[in-house]
Symmetry: C2
Subunit: 333 residues, 2 copies
Amino acid sequence: MKKLINQPDDVVRESLEGFAAAFSGMIRLHVDPVYIVRADAPAKGKVGVLSGGGSGHEPMHGGFVGYGMLDAACPGAIFTSPTPDQMQEATRAINGGVGVLHIIKNYTGDIMNFEMAADLARDEGIEVASVIIDDDVAVKDSLYTAGRRGVGTTVLAEKITGAAAQQGRPLAEVADVCQRVNGYGRSMGVALTSCTVPHVGHATFELPEDQMEIGIGIHGEPGRARTALQPADQVTEMLMEPVIADLPFKTGDEVLLFVNGMGGTPLPELHIVYRKALQIATQHGLKVTRSLVGPYMTSLEMAGCSVTLLKLNAELTALWDAPVCTPGMRWGM
Amino acid sequence: MKKLINQPDDVVRESLEGFAAAFSGMIRLHVDPVYIVRADAPAKGKVGVLSGGGSGHEPMHGGFVGYGMLDAACPGAIFTSPTPDQMQEATRAINGGVGVLHIIKNYTGDIMNFEMAADLARDEGIEVASVIIDDDVAVKDSLYTAGRRGVGTTVLAEKITGAAAQQGRPLAEVADVCQRVNGYGRSMGVALTSCTVPHVGHATFELPEDQMEIGIGIHGEPGRARTALQPADQVTEMLMEPVIADLPFKTGDEVLLFVNGMGGTPLPELHIVYRKALQIATQHGLKVTRSLVGPYMTSLEMAGCSVTLLKLNAELTALWDAPVCTPGMRWGM
């Protein structure tokens, strides 16, 4: 295992300390229980937006805490759900008096713990709504998941929902925006290599030099098929066709095209995938009006990518374009 | 070789096409000869800032084209200098009538070609100034380089110099700012793995599973020493001590601390390195007032990082903070 770490058990704590020091103007780190929170939280009269999940997917979620996106994020151990006490305290810390939305990726542990935290917060008199992201068209039911897994749409949902909350909309409306983003977003990924969880010390799975895993999960869960490595254009077709087939799309629809890097894939390769994905979307009559390309939801150093299509309308486009200032996504201010 | 590419010879062209499509609001791609240029170039009355070099280091340089940074960038083949005709035409395309600055990393091929392009542009009546970046303290003279190599300070120089040009300063002053950034910046890197150039098809060098290369160059050039893999804190010391020893620093100086990812290293590891680098800088009496952490100057999928310290003053800090809007760096607008 070749990693720039000290003790495997210290990876999450030490990386969060470095992260918090590097971005001290935007966020601060709360210790015991651990969460990342906006430096100016709570924002009185604003709905708080909370997400979280296992570490190892950076910049998601901690890197998306800041103006116009998340108010707090709870990091678990690598690829492991955070605990209800983290979520409960973070919920309390970002409660500006008008409720808190939990954005939850569809993994069994996350859902159970967020539900427990929501109940505990409600006992304290905090209004809590929850939206589950389950956009991965690759497989139904999977390791760690009943139903579809939550993947790339999570990033888009956190941006767009955070913008709605920043505008001062009430909790029910903020939750509705998030729900619609999930309904309009579809994703699928591919891995060329595995990744190594530090405290495990060896690769999560074996993938021969001439093979790839189509439909991979963000923790290395099995996908649809293990096939021979193909040229990027064919791989992109294998990802885009199921995404487009599954979407509530029609010709002329405006979409956001998101090509996400899994961590170990260089930017030029993501741009090659974007190039072909754009061609395919256009051939299907879709109009790509917004784009995102880069490693936003990673799986440690895994080589691979995912594509996400999100159907847009004027409201969602305006929320996407709204100012955001976080360590991992920043524009308009 | 596991990569999301089609034909190795098409990697640069196809990735630039995808890049230009994804960021069409900020930049456009000129073909034959190839360069990336600000969508609104030339800016009349503004000094143009041009850089370039081999591809494979993305987002540098093309990702730094836009408001407040570069006006154009010339990408070569992977790890290969662009040609004088690219540089000459890009110089012409960004000439707003008050001259163009060339920012050149210290590699023999780049210097020779940029010099030739500058001469050709001057023959056309365009005023051209050049600044060479040579901030790598690891080794003197190297594969491809006489003197020190140009590494991480290049990113900072492009941001700060671009801000000076955006303010409308004259060419001599813009060049002077760039020269001062180079004088105040020092860097050193480490590799845990090699990378694979697509048209070569195998790793550039072999690095056993238990070893690392301290002082690596961004094309895999040999560094100071090949040693046993160490914990991140020790590795960070091995990078920071030579950087601090070499700098024209004194206690109380304000500095920018830049931890750069080589491509294959996950963000949490960069944050672990940042954490220790900050401690070391502080122990040496330096005051870290600005930070940058992430993969800004990569070597394809190489695992590793570099650290850069840049001595700041009020002027350079203000230029660093100035608004920038490029695909790879964006804030303040």
